[in-house]
Symmetry: C2
Subunit: 106 residues, 2 copies
DNA sequence: TATATATGGTTTGTGACACAGACCAGTTTG
DNA sequence: CAAACTGGTCTGTGTCACAAACCATATATA
């Protein structure tokens, strides 16, 4: 099966998922954000957001720090260096691909 | 649950899927393509490609014409007008979103 | 005539995933 | 004490991407 000329090999599907892309985008902008802030910004449910964060954490794209605000638990997320690199790469690859889609029509 | 400011509502997930995005991109460029040509170009397996085409067809984004080349079956795919519009919209929405991701870092 | 091999796909099985709702632990308020 | 809020995690469910198996037909080959 010869590989086609128009593959998307460089696309990181972990980031490609819209929900996670939003999270990555926010974290890239704000440097650190707590769980509820992310929930408000993204509009995701707690469960969904929690799962996405866990996935990004497992991949090493973000760090999750569990701490306390007074006596109340507080989860703080940050983009890791690896995450920052992956995010940059994703945008570059995507940009590259999207340029190709602008081919003249037949 | 108040909606966040950074949603991706305009993103058509049917098109967002990389495999289908490639198919749409090809069809947008070539005007018509048969099954095996698409398979070669995309590098997808038959089954996978078949499923993706069915999905695009169900949504009305492409038309599938089953005909014969001599005595051998031949499936020809074309982007429908709706598909062309949706594809254009997708690219525009995506461009818009990606611009927002370029926010200055904290 | 058997049989192998290619063409052009569709159907089926499976594992991963997105999503929301139920649940839980601790805290503050009445 | 009870109710309600905060800050999350765990669980169940439906959907999906993917490849392998299968099917129907056509052509080559021995």
């Amino acid at each position: 099966m010869s590989r086609g000329g128009l593959t998307i090999e460089g696309i990181d599907r972990l980031i490609h998922e819209p929900a996670r892309l939003i999270v990555m985008t926010i974290l890239n902008a704000v440097e650190s954000a707590d769980f509820l802030y992310l929930q408000r910004e993204t509009g995701l449910t707690k469960g969904n957001l929690s799962a996405h964060l866990a996935k990004l954490d497992a991949e090493g794209y973000i760090t999750i720090e569990k701490t306390y605000k007074g006596k109340i638990p507080l989860t703080i997320c940050r983009l890791s260096e690896a995450g920052r690199i992956a995010f940059g790469r994703y945008r570059a690859e995507w940009e590259k691909f999207m340029k190709k889609t602008r081919l003249k029509r037949a």
